[in-house]
Amino acid sequence: MEADLTWRVDGVEHTLAVDTRTTVLDALRDRLGNTSPKKGCDHGQCGACTVLVDGRRQLSCLGLAVAHDGSEITTAAGLVDGDELHPVQQAFVDHDGLQCGYCTPGQVCSAVGMLDEVKAGHPSAVSDDLEADVELDEDEIRERMSGNLCRCGAYSNIVAAIEEAARA
């Protein structure tokens, strides 16, 4: 069974008909040729497919494309401003926050979404005061980024990169 769907992906509008079983990730990769988000597990357990859906970070392998008709989707490729990297992406370069690069688009989308959550005052499992503004210390970053696997183990540098991006 197919259904029609209209999306803005990285600033460009697309209308397409998809098999209703198609995930957001497969629609992006196989239908639109946007290979920025990666498939690491297809079960929402690794974070490599993280994109921003209407500004919130989301595991694109867990959502059905048809459930997001009308959404604005941003992948790592859409975070850049022309030739300029997004500050979070630049911080990953400056702190060597990646090795093989496979989890990286998901890590940066997750970090960008997470920093917005912090600005909006969302508490995490390690926040002491659920009502207060979040102080983004190392514990908070580790907790909030704990949905993104990096088998190359670049974690210390990822934390350093996000700390810098948060300060900027």
Partner: protein, 797 residues
Amino acid sequence: MTTKSFGQRVQRTEDERFLRGRGQYTDDLLPDALHVAVLRSPHAHARIGDIEVDAVLDVEGVVAVYTYEDLEGAMAEPLPLLIPHPALTHGRTQYALARDEVNYVGEAVAMVVATDRYVAEDAAARITVVYETLPVVVGIDAARDASRLVHDDVPGNVAARMEQSTGDAAAAIAKAPHRLELELDIERSACMPLEGRATAARWDTDTSRLTVWTSTQTSTGVRAAVASKLGLDLVQVDVITPDVGGGFGVKVVHPWPEEVLVPMAARLLGRPVKFTEDRREHFISSAHERAQHHHVEVGFDDDGRVEGLSVQFWHDNGAYTPYGLIVPIITSTQLLGPYKPPVYSVVFESLYTNTVIVTPYRGAGRPQGVFAMERTMDAIAAYLGKDRAAVRAVNFIQPDEFPYDQGLIFQDGKPLIYDSGDFPQSLDKIKALVGWDDFERVRDEARAEGRTVGIGLACYVEGTGVGPYEGGHVQVETTGKVKVSTGLTTQGQGHQTAFAQIVADELGVRFEDVEVVTGDTRRMPYAVGTYASRAAVMSGSAIALTARAVKAKALKLAADALEVAEDDLEVADGVVSVKGAPSSNVSLGTLAVLSNPLRYAFDEASKSATQFSVGDPDAVPVPEGESPGLESRDYFSPPRSTFASGMHAVVVETDPETAEISILRYCVVHDCGRLINPLIVEGQIHGGVAQGVGGALYERMAYDEHGQLQNASFMDFLMPYVSEVPREIEVDHLETPSPLNPLGIKGAGEAGVIPSAALFASAIEDAEGFAITRMPISPSELYALRLEHATTEGADR
């Protein structure tokens, strides 16, 4: 003057592309390809009866389905045994698609090719296979028991039995003042790269050429395998390794069944075909490693000096042995670490089980060997009531004893001779870094707060840069840009950056003018692969030698063009100039023009080259022994491996109630010879430590007695997230150059993971006060050990 690049913390040139989402991994390529789904065995051991595929062909979108019956010629033969060994008396490999019998859950039985993966999977589910299940062998105990056999014609489930010794260890142990025996276990884990295996292939009907893109650690190995299996000439096959999303060993095995099946289908169908492994497939049908049981006997004197060491161990190699005995041979030799027992004997058996194959995973047998040796050192210290570091120190090979011959044969078939190192200095550094001598104060302070802490130490030596060779090709274009290629592959080690640094320095060009390509058989048809921490040593050295040859060629041309002696010239920033008279110069780009007697004036460099005259006008344009072009190809082939080393220390806290294990400090002293790029080396160490933490505290493959893997997902197989790794990994480097290569370097890729099991066992034992003999260890296991020891102590009273 060109700034020296070697040794600097140069930012990786690879990063920006990945961050922009422009990484090109195999599944990102060939968007119009047909997709493959593989039907895999649901049984760990079964005979295959009828396979019914007719219903599959009715599915709309299905293009082809293959079973063993459809394989022809060499494809119908078993997959190759890559590394035979005389001790491997009963080597067995699987077929690309199972023939008559399956020996592990996940073994490939049939392959469906369809318009997309959704259709291919739906169709594969329609295949019916009649299985007659057979008794299953899971685990080392069941394999040793041998009341059930994995392969009918392999008695005792023993693939190989291998023995090495440097003398009569039993006699030396018997004569020693003190003796100990230990039983030590390590369980299975796996590489688990975030990108699984993937292969895409395109057959060009017009030219009869096959192009294969595959997520591999050896493009040349896959190329040879594909050509041989499909009956093609080598020159008809190109293998290109695009970006690879992590390897850690599993992708050096070749060919994986799909690596020959996909090209076969692409050729038969005349259409591009792609296979992308999903995560469950990776868990059950790609390789694992680590499971071994060790029995150690040691004799030692009052200072803890080992007088004789005897080790027996049993290695679970899974259902087949495509990679030979590499893992257990490494355990058996690298177990010795930085120590020099006067007599050592080791014997191992490599055993079949009905589980997925075992092949090298980062560290490759060393974590087990180090676990056995370091647990022994700690046991000696505990027995004598001595400091664990002091017991290690009396057993060290001393700096003036290099090269040190351990008297054994290493994995590469060469003598196990350590080239260089300084173990006492490493120990001093790690003790200072972690505050070893001050730890009793830390312990007392923690105890006063009701907290339990422990400190651990582990030392290792890693043979790196194994041969036989790698090559480099360096070409200066007329634009002055330098194009470099080497045949081994890259899966996150920053090779483009590190190799460009080497070329920048050796050739005298700007780092940003150097572009490096790896793993493309069109550019470098002779190569080995990226494993055994060998890329920097092997390709780095080959590229350095090649760059030197290109520089020599440039200097000869420049001397001719500028009419001065070569000795009077220097190269910097891509320009050759006369020492002391820099205005008399010629660029490498112009020299590239001059190097080629055919000079169409296509570009500015060609036009500007007309002011110079080179070569003997009376000789032929390309004299004997010379070649056109400012380029060279050279190979590096070392006499034997170079030995890196390191020591790690960790401080852990164990929760008195929940037995949760927390890491308070993690310190590393690492010696990989001269550092090309400390940023990259530290990244490799961080990554190794993260995997080591996983292997020590979280990761295990939970096979049940039926050979079903119970935790085949990231939800159930616990790999460290950012929340599980040490907050800070404190690293100190020691640089003892290797005399075996032109750059003095040693490998660094695997090091971080090697001591982890030993290290955490040492620290947890120190915190808890009872022996830790099995790794990994979970809080519930630690809790159970506490109860066991409390009961034992109660009974003793």
